[in-house]
Assembly symmetry: none
Homo-oligomer: 248 residues x 2
Amino acid sequence: MGSLNSQPAFVLVRPQMGENIGAAARAMWNFGLDRMRVVGPRDGWPNTRAVAMASGAGRLLDEAQLSDDLPGALSDCHYVMATTARPRGLTKTVLTPEAAMAEARARIGRGERVAMMFGPERAGLENADIAQANAIVSVPVNPDFPSLNLAQCVLLCAYEWQRSAGTATDRVEELAGTSPATGEEVDHLARHYEERLEQAGFFFPETKAEGMRLNLRNMWSRMPLTRADVQMLHGILRQMVRWKTRGE
Amino acid sequence: MGSLNSQPAFVLVRPQMGENIGAAARAMWNFGLDRMRVVGPRDGWPNTRAVAMASGAGRLLDEAQLSDDLPGALSDCHYVMATTARPRGLTKTVLTPEAAMAEARARIGRGERVAMMFGPERAGLENADIAQANAIVSVPVNPDFPSLNLAQCVLLCAYEWQRSAGTATDRVEELAGTSPATGEEVDHLARHYEERLEQAGFFFPETKAEGMRLNLRNMWSRMPLTRADVQMLHGILRQMVRWKTRGE
C-alpha cells in the first residue's frame, strides 16, 4: 500500500458519475497509485456504481479520503497541481503531465506531500479550485478535438508517474528460453548454405558468384538470429536436400 | 488529414464492441492520429455503435481501411508493432510505448510506413497475429493489476506518438542505400517457404507442425529484411527446387 511519502494523491473534485470514479480508481491502480481523495461527490459516498466499476481496484475506494470541500482535502499537502484542458487566464505555471510527475517525484523525494486535482466530468475545475493549486497540468491534446474524459486524464497522469520512475526498460529482447546465436554458429550456417547452394548451381553466372556469396554471408550476419533460428534454418536446408534425394 | 507518410496506422484486429472502436477513434484523434485500419470486425462494417461513440472523431471510421485478414491490412507496411500485455514466448523485441513511438517516428522520417496492431477486447492478439509483427509493444502496467482496455491502450500509444514529436532524435541510418521489405513482400516470402517446405515434408510430425509454422513465420517478421534479402531468399528456394527437379 502506498502513502503520500511515496506517491501523489489523486483528488477527484465533485465527481458526478460513480462509474467514472470507479474507472479513475482502475486507471490509478494500473500504474501502482492507490491514494485517492474525493471531494463532495454528487451522489454521496460510498457509491455502489463506483464500487462495481472499480472491481479489482475497489480497495482504493474503501481507503479513499472523503472531504466536503477542497481545503479539507488539501490541508496536509505541500504542493498541489490542477489538471485542466483550458488554463483560463490565471497566472500559473502550466506543466505537461511528464513535467508534472517529474516535479512530483522530486518533491516527494524531498519529503513533501503532493496532490493532483481532477475536476468534475462536464465542466472541469473552476477557477476557484485552480486558484488553490501551485501549478496547472495540461495534457497536450489535439486542439481541434480535446475530448479526454476523467478516467483518461487520470490514466495519462498515472502513466506519467510510473514513467517518471525510470524503471521501465525501453527495449528488451524476449528470448524465451533461447539465446542469440554465436558467431561460430552463424558461420556454420552460412557455410552450410553456401556449400549446398554451390551444389545446386545457385551462384551463377560465374562473374556474379563472388558478389552473391558476399551478399548471402552479409545477410546472415546482419540478422538477429537466435540459436533456435539457426537450427530451423539448418533444418530447412537439410529437408530440401532430403526432398531432392527422395526424388518424388 | 494524415497519411502514412506522416503517422503510423493503428490497426484494430477483430474488434468486438462497436463502442470500443468508437472510443479508440476518439483516443487516436485526441492526439492527432487519424489513420485507422480495421481487420475482421465482429459485428460487420460500418458499425452504428462505433459511429455513435466516436462523435467528433467519426471521420476516422469513415476513412478507415477495412480488411478481411491481417496480411491484407499490413501489406504496404514496412514495420509493424503488436501491442500485447503478455509477450508469450515468441522471440521478438519488446518495446515500451515510448520507445515504440520513437522507433515509429524515426522510420517514418526515413520514408517507411509503420503500423501498430491492437487485439480484440477479451483475449488480445493471438500468437499468429504477433508472428506477423517486427516488434512487440507492452505498456508497463502494475503486474498486480493489468486492466487496460482497448481504448486506453490506444490512448497511451497515441499520447506517446504526440510526445515523441518533441523528443525524436536522429538515428544512424542502418540500412543506407537499401530499401526495407514491405509487409506484403515478407508475407509472400513466408508463404513461398511454407508452401515449398510443406511439399518437402518439413512440417513433421503433425503434432508439431503448427508450432513450426508459427516459429518460421515469426522469424521472417522479426528479421530486418531488405528487398534485396527477400529476392535472394526467394532465389535460394527456387534454386533448390530446380536442383531437385533436374534430379542430378
